[in-house]
Amino acid sequence: MKKNPCFIIAFILSLLMFIASSHAEMSKTLNAAIVKIKMDTDSNNDGTIDATDDAQEEESPGKLVPVNDNDDNSNRTSDLMDTAVTGENDLSEINVSLDPEEIASDSAVQNDINIQLEASSGASHIKLWDSATKSNEISLPKTYNLGTDTLPSSVYLEGSASGETDLDIVLKSGTQELSSDTLKNTIINVDYSEDSSQSYGFDNRQTDALATGNYLDNLFVPWKSVRSSHTDSVIATIADSQNADHVYFTSTDETNVTVSPPQAASATQTLTINGIRKGNAVIQANLASENGKNAALLNVSSYDLVEKTLAIILVHEDNDDVQDIAVGQPAASTQTCVSSGTNLSLDTNPAGDDIIDGTYIRSGPDGTCDTTANNTDILSTDLQINALETYLNETVYNQAVLQWTVTRLTEKRVNFDLNRDGQIDVSSWPTPEMQIIIDECGDSNYDHNIFLVDHPSDGSLGYMSFGQRYGFVHLDNSNHPNNTVAHELGHGAFSLEHPDNGSRNDADIENLMHSVEPNPWRLRKYQWDIINP
């Protein structure tokens, strides 16, 4: 058979056209099959992002991320509420990659390619940022069109609330999904709090009213006190609770302070803090391992015990005048109606027209004694010494690792009421009436003396000036006698100021030294250091 050359040429052309057409279709299909979008993070929590993470990236818990509620830039704003945080180190890096990466710059296809980032679950637990220091937030869901947008090579995930989240990335051509990837993240929050049965102190004051800047280096890190060579407890509360065993505890300076157990066993974990010697350490709650990402810090100060002695002296006003002539009885002018008793001091105010003459009250011109002798002591209110010592040592000053030995001295009857008004004059430090009590009742053998004397002239609870051995407490005005003693000792023994109206201007209503709040008992870290320097 003789072949027609034209037919042959036409056949070849048709074949070439078919091949060309088929090749174009085949190209498109191939691209769809080989283009991949991928996210990588440290899913196995070993500190690096590498191929070993892939097997873990969609498995729970995936990447463990702390809630970012500390204050890395020390600007007194929680990092969660802050942006552009210098020193921020709590965000989790996520690397984003296209394969082949040239597709991002391929003008033939880039306009059709969209990449979407979204949290398919747990969106409220995270925020996404374009830098490790929170420069710009990436609001989810976020779509990148490769024709107009630059796909970032890394994004940074911030934990904002505890719980699991799935972060998805999807690559689409038009509406057709070509590739996707998912990362599992678990956000863990750890909070340290006071154990109600603790022996020493815990300071979690997050004040917003400080006028002076000397409170804490890092506002959101609480402080714990412990006695050296002794232990105390603190509570670590872990959320999400099913991941508690991913939290590890470690001390930054084990020569000063140690912590146990090293790994949490429950969502509410009691930790034992062991003060080794005088010094500080930070107890870290780290995720995944003892060297993992930090989720919470607790400052610990280990103090040596300081011991002080306190004498409590109950003081009564001594009144013992003698009625020489009964009231209403006739008396010659200037005849003695009332005379001082054994205390050799006149305790009686004259009545009628009677007049004072030295230590006597004599009848006036009416020829009658009008004055009743004052021979009734003015008694003061007592307190329980053992209860006071327990309160001082187990509620208040134990916070600063200081202990009081309280001794009751024999009560005194003193003729201090110089103006016979039935009160102790407390209008300055010290008044002559206060000086009489100090001189007659004070015992310098004790570090400090507290005189219990009722009926202050100004209705106050107590008075002890800064750095004094002697102080006055008026229990007739106090509903919390032990607390009043503790407060006055704060002034006298340790020179503590009122936080609310002193140089600090800090409305710390729980503070022992608050000027008006009833029965506050807390001491803060700055006070621990003054008490136990």
Binding site: K278, T410, I438, D439, N445, P533
Partner: protein, 309 residues
């Protein structure tokens, strides 16, 4: 007045209200100690003096130095200190300082801290060579206690000055590992060195106290540290507070804060032997007394020869 009250105190402590005439000192002490042990109460009702020699009293107290109760041991050493205050011969004082130095090794902070504090009120002659050797051995240990370092200065142990300077110059001893800078061993070493006449340390202390921003701490705590130094420059530094009309913050509405000068005059009354005022306590000095002492210190330079070391 103070001396009188101390005498009254010791009298009342060593007497007892029930059948006092029939009891020996040993029996009376036993009653006092038991009452203290059981009730935290100290009887001061008795009126009669126990007429005993200090050596005898100290001997009677000796068994209580080894009592199991820290409170009793502390009280025992306190009584020893009182005996030395009253029966002030050098022999008694040396016996008492020896006891107090031994008490520095007590396991109870209540005991050793107060023994250390009591030792600071003695004079160099009151410390025997044996006591000084013991103190020096404590000073030579790693991380000597703050209180021990101060006793070295009080006892005028000039041979320990190199060790003190070494502690003072070690920066790790000057940074508060917790607490405040004025609670560090480095600060104590500067104070003690200054007391021994090391002028650089005196200057350091003056500058350090001057830089303390909290006036309450500066006046109520750190001026006491300056008074410990007992050197001319330190006393002149305290004098600047005597000359000041500033006051500490008020603690009561309508009541002014305490004058700095009250704190200064109280310390100067302790530091200068020939100062023409009896030591009382902060707040008890009248405006005219303060005025007079200001004038006296400005006009009378002789006080430099009467620093109470």
């Amino acid at each position: 007045m103070k001396y009188f009250s101390i005498i009254v105190s010791i009298i009342t402590l060593l007497t007892f209200q029930v059948n006092a005439q029939d009891q020996t000192v040993e029996q009376r002490l036993a009653v006092i100690m038991n009452l203290l042990r059981q009730t935290n109460t100290l009887s001061t009702d008795a009126k009669k003096l126990v007429n005993q020699s200090p050596e005898s009293l100290l001997e009677q107290l000796a068994p209580y130095e080894n009592d199991t109760s820290p409170k009793i041991r502390h009280f025992t050493y306190t009584l020893c200190k009182k005996i030395s205050d009253i029966q002030g011969d050098i022999t008694t004082r040396q016996i008492v300082t020896s006891k107090l130095v031994n008490a520095l090794a007590d396991s109870s902070p209540l005991v050793w801290q107060h023994a250390a504090k009591d030792l600071l009120s003695f004079h160099p002659d009151d410390f025997t060579e044996e006591s000084k050797q013991t103190i020096h051995s404590y000073l030579s240990q790693d991380n000597p206690k703050y209180e021990i370092i101060l006793i070295v200065g009080t006892a005028n142990m000039t041979q320990s000055l190199p060790r003190l300077i070494s502690i003072a110059n070690d920066q790790s001893n000057n940074s508060p590992i917790t607490g405040k800078w004025y609670g560090t061993s480095g600060w104590a070493a500067h104070l003690s060195s200054a007391r021994l006449g090391h002028t650089d340390s005196t200057q350091y202390c003056i500058e350090k106290v001057s830089s303390e921003p909290n006036p309450v701490i500066q006046v109520t705590k750190l001026l006491k540290d300056m008074a410990y130094i007992r050197q001319k420059e330190a006393i002149l530094f305290i004098k600047t507070y005597l000359d000041s009309n500033d006051r500490l913050p008020s603690l009561k509405a309508n009541v002014s804060g305490t004058q700095y000068a009250q704190y200064a005059i109280d310390l100067l009354a302790e530091c200068i032997i020939n100062i023409p005022i009896e030591r009382k306590y902060v707040g008890a000095y009248t405006p005219s007394e303060i005025s007079n002492i200001r004038q006296w210190m400005n006009q009378e330079s002789n006080w430099l020869n009467f620093i109470n070391k």
